[in-house]
Amino acid sequence: MWGRSASFILEKQQHLEEEKKLKMAQQQDPLLQNPNSSLSAYYQNRAAHHAVVTSDWLAQAQAAAAHRPDGLPPPDDLDGDADQRPFSVIDEFNRWRKQPDLAEAVAAIMALASVIRSSQATTMMELEIELKKASDSLKSWDTTSISLTAACDLFTRYVTRTSALEYEDFNSAKARLIERGEKFGEISRKARQTIATLSQDFIFDGCTILVHGFSRVVFEVLKTAVQNKKLFRVLCTELKQLTVLDLICFASLELAEGRPDRTGLRLSNELSKLNVPVKLLIDSAVAYAMDEIDMVFVGADGVVESGGIINMMGTYQIALVAHSMNKPVYVAAESYKFARLYPLDQKDMAPALRPIDFGVPVPPEVEVEKSARDYTPPQYLTLLFTDLGVLTPSVVSDELIQLYL
């Protein structure tokens, strides 16, 4: 699967990429150091970078709400990962998570790779068991995180499904495993860039994009688009391409009177920094706004076997509206989010709850829907941008079958 990663397109623009990376590194370095103490569950972790729970981001979001433009700390899409989890026993994992620009899943992959490297095992079997144990503990560390589980599984599959196991010499076999592990980590790390590059063909002049929530991949896609504009301006004709890019971001607002997640606010802040025209609307206005929209871009928490996605609450209804109005729905998701799950309907998932504060006291007898995510079936998705390439939803299962069976 990763043997044919589409990351080759990155190499085309290699020097550009390098410049970009340098720039990004410069931009992002100072941003690593805002450790938030956060809770353990995946969605609470996400909430950190969605600016829901952490006071830090709450303040920022409120500031943003007050005056959206430039009164904010510099954009940072990575801080969620930089959280230090006080109770986490997996040091390696946490060490990696402190790295900039690493998703939780990539951190897990890197941690697993270093498990192999530092392993004292003397036989292949031992090493595999050790790896399995490590990945199990990672998985149990947060069971609600689809991408973490998927990444651990994928890593184990990818690394151990190799002819290396037939090597007679344990050391060379281990070296091979390390090599594969690092390759996997490398691909995973590059995934976001790959996706951003792949998706550029789909963002055309003057298009209006609807974005749901804050997804680092989607942000990367948009940022790359903006950067491409600069690039193209130097080159020649594409001047207008992204200046006209009208981003309607999207703060999901529970029942209109609830407290917004402020993920949309955050994205709009960061995009307005990039001089992208942004309009903010509440999620009950999606259908209202849909006619002026050219495409919908969403991220994903997990991509499941049917080709559908599990994503932040609200994605399904947006996809439904978009589908009924024949607008394309694009999903940007790294391939380590491909999970061996097959939900049949919304309730057919492990529940992932998050606290919802409506701002007003809710009578105790009133039940509150706390689910943090929903499942969007494949028929409402147009394309998936992954680091394996641009896939139709049905290919997801093909990839998973090839890997797991």
Binding site: S306, L344, P378, Q379, S394, S397, L405
Partner: protein, 662 residues
């Protein structure tokens, strides 16, 4: 109804092997093409069955038929043919496929299980396309050597060039003669040519282009043959007065192999008995083609009377008056020495409807074959691989006559033939037999029993407390799933939807209720009423085809569509060995017709007799379809032993595990 996949742009930056892709298919044949004279007959590694589509396994007419398959997939192996007895033949196929002697010491005729020449074949009109594709041409020797002169020089030269030694020993010139009644209309020839039964298996594996080429070449050959008809006839001996023709492949020149099936003609006499056994109707014979049906009938072991009033769209499917075969077959028991008693018994039970259901029929057949293999001993001068394959082939053709093969059976037969062909030649009889027996056991165990267990495990994970599960008719796997879930304390209710005439659901209901499940029974008429309370639909399938279409008991599509409309997920449970690489778009092309009387009569209701004399009324046609095709749009998930997959991924399983599936 929304399509499961909405329209989408496919802009793919990479070349991906997505979709239907069988990498091994072509290489398989072409790879075997090293022209190495010394290369031994590659029989062992090339199984004829490989090229067969599951349901389309045509009963080998005789061993040489199988041999042909081997040949078609091998290369020109210019092995000098040693004696007059070993004829040289070319098999028509789109490829360059010269001959080889697969086993010089054996004559082709000798390998026939029936020990007979296939000469008589030609006699039958309309058979020519058979002959073109099969080696079973007819043979002339000695005095008819002249026929050779009617060989188009191209073909002959080619053959000679290829063979180096065109071992036409003595006076025997082995020439394939393609019989072709000159009066035959072009249209007919063309249409027949489109589906030459025995070349069909070849087609299966050939690429589209290859098939096209084959078709073209055959057409051209036919035209040429017709043109030559007048010339050739005078040359031929008096016996061959029925326009003897050679099919030339001018069009393809050296590339296209001439459809010259040369063999030894022992006499052109017609052996009806032998012939009959050899040529059972092709499983996918088009039954609206009168001549073929006539021909097939003459050969049939089982005498069947065809129903007269057939529904227009379904005339291509076989339909017989029910109950006419059984007595006949019973009295024929001692005359059918070629069919093993166990196989015979199973066939009769198929006929009587005792055994139904894909798995049950498949297992019963395999068990019968096990008996047959146990009792089998290789006749002298023959090899087990080939003789047993043809023997199995004749069993299969017998079974087809009893009832058309199910796809599961087709796949199992393919597997068995693979096993036989792949068993090493060096093994002794008993070793080979025990190997085969354990192979069959393993197949039953792995592909059916364990697969069912895996399916049960997967499907149960989708059953939650409070579910209302709807199932249609009766499926063994679904029953196992329900029982397993019940045993594990899941709280759910079952709705059993049934339909006439089989009413299999009643038995299922009885069994479930005995185990303590709470069941609702209804007929399919009420499915739209009951559907709103259902949370999941679980159904079995006879097969899942490559485009995700589910081929199953008639009524399944209806239930699936209603469920889809109600947004109820539809889970189809199907073992992976039942997957088929074919594609089906509707329920018409491939189906099975049941006994029309079953739907015209209502048991226990003598007063409902309005249809009693339907057979006498030209305008009254009854249709009792047995299967239907459910488009993949209406299927949420397919549960197989490989896990739960979307219907779009069936070709991936077939492609990746096709080798292991069957």
């Amino acid at each position: 109804m929304e399509a499961r996949r909405s329209s989408r742009m496919v802009i793919d930056p990479k070349v991906r092997q997505v979709g239907f892709f069988t990498p091994s298919a072509l290489p398989d044949r072409t790879a075997s093409a090293p022209t190495d004279p010394s290369s031994s007959p590659p029989v062992s590694d090339i199984s004829p069955a490989n090229s067969l589509s599951p349901v389309m396994i045509p009963p080998p007419r005789h061993a040489s038929d199988n041999f042909t398959f081997n040949l078609t997939r091998t290369v020109p192996v210019p092995v000098p043919v040693p004696g007059p007895g070993s004829p040289l033949r070319h098999v028509s196929s789109g490829e360059n496929m010269p001959l080889g002697s697969y086993n010089p010491s054996e004559s082709f005729l000798g390998t026939s299980p029936l020990g007979q020449s296939s000469a008589s074949k030609v006699v039958v009109d309309g058979e020519f396309s058979d002959d073109v594709a099969s080696p079973a041409g007819w043979f002339r020797r000695g005095s008819t050597g002249k026929v050779a002169s009617s060989l188009p020089s191209g073909g002959f030269d080619m053959a000679a060039a290829k063979k180096g030694s065109f071992a036409v020993a003595g006076s025997v010139t082995a020439v394939s003669v393609v019989k072709m009644p000159p009066e035959k209309s072009e249209g007919l020839t063309a249409s027949q040519n489109d589906r030459p039964p025995s070349s069909k298996p070849l087609k299966e594996k050939t690429s589209k282009a290859d098939r096209r080429a084959l078709q073209e070449s055959q057409r051209a050959a036919k035209a040429a043959a017709r043109a030559e008809g007048n010339k050739g006839a005078p040359l031929a001996s008096a016996k061959a007065a029925k326009s003897v023709k050679h099919v030339s492949q001018k069009k393809d020149g050296i590339q296209g192999s001439p459809s010259v099936a040369a063999s030894e003609k022992k006499g052109i006499d017609y052996f009806p008995e032998k012939e009959r056994k050899k040529d059972a109707p092709h499983p996918r014979m088009q039954f609206d083609d009168k001549e073929r049906v006539e021909k097939a009938k003459r050969r049939a072991v089982v005498k069947k009377t065809e129903v007269r009033n057939r529904v227009e769209l379904f005339r291509h499917l076989p339909q017989y008056e029910h109950g006419t075969q059984l007595p006949y077959l019973e009295c024929k028991f001692f005359q059918l020495e070629a069919v093993h008693p166990s196989v015979y018994k199973v066939g009769l039970r198929y006929l009587a409807g005792d055994i139904c259901g894909g798995n049950a029929r498949c297992i019963a057949m395999l068990e019968a074959f096990k008996d047959a293999i146990r009792d089998y001993s290789t006749p002298p001068e023959k090899t087990l691989n080939r003789d047993l394959t043809s023997k199995i082939g004749s069993f299969v053709s017998f079974l087809i006559e009893c009832r058309p093969l199910s796809i599961s059976m087709g796949n199992a037969i393919r597997f068995l033939k693979n096993c036989i062909t792949n068993s090493p030649l060096s093994l002794s009889d008993s070793e080979a037999k025990s190997g085969l027996l354990s192979g069959i056991d393993r197949f039953i165990n792995e592909k059916v029993t364990s697969a069912d267990q895996a399916i049960v495990k997967h499907a149960v994970s989708k059953i939650r407390d409070g579910d209302v599960l709807l199932t249609y008719s009766s499926s063994a796997v679904v029953e196992a799933i329900l029982l397993y879930a019940h045993d594990h304390g899941k709280q759910f209710r079952v709705v059993i939807v049934d339909s006439r005439p089989k009413l299999e659901g009643q038995a299922l209901m009885r069994r479930l209720v005995e185990k303590g499940l709470s069941c609702t029974y209804t007929h399919i008429n009420a499915v739209s009423y009951i559907m709103h309370e259902v949370t999941k639909v679980l159904m079995g399938a006879a097969s899942v085809l490559s485009n995700g279409t589910v081929y199953s008991r008639v009524g399944t599509a209806c239930v699936a569509m209603v469920a889809h409309q109600f947004r109820v997920p539809v889970l189809i449970c199907c073992e992976a060995y039942k997957f088929d690489e074919r594609v089906l778009l509707d329920s018409i092309c491939s189906n099975e017709l049941g006994d029309p009387d079953a739907i015209s009569k209502v048991p226990g209701r003598l007063d409902v007799n309005h249809l009693n004399d339907w057979a006498d009324n030209e305008n009254m046609q009854l249709l009792n379809l047995l299967y239907d095709a459910t488009p993949s749009d209406y299927v949420s998930m397919i549960v197989t032993d490989y896990g739960m997959i979307p219907p779009t991924s069936v070709p991936v399983i077939v492609r990746q595990y096709g080798q292991h599936l069957w």
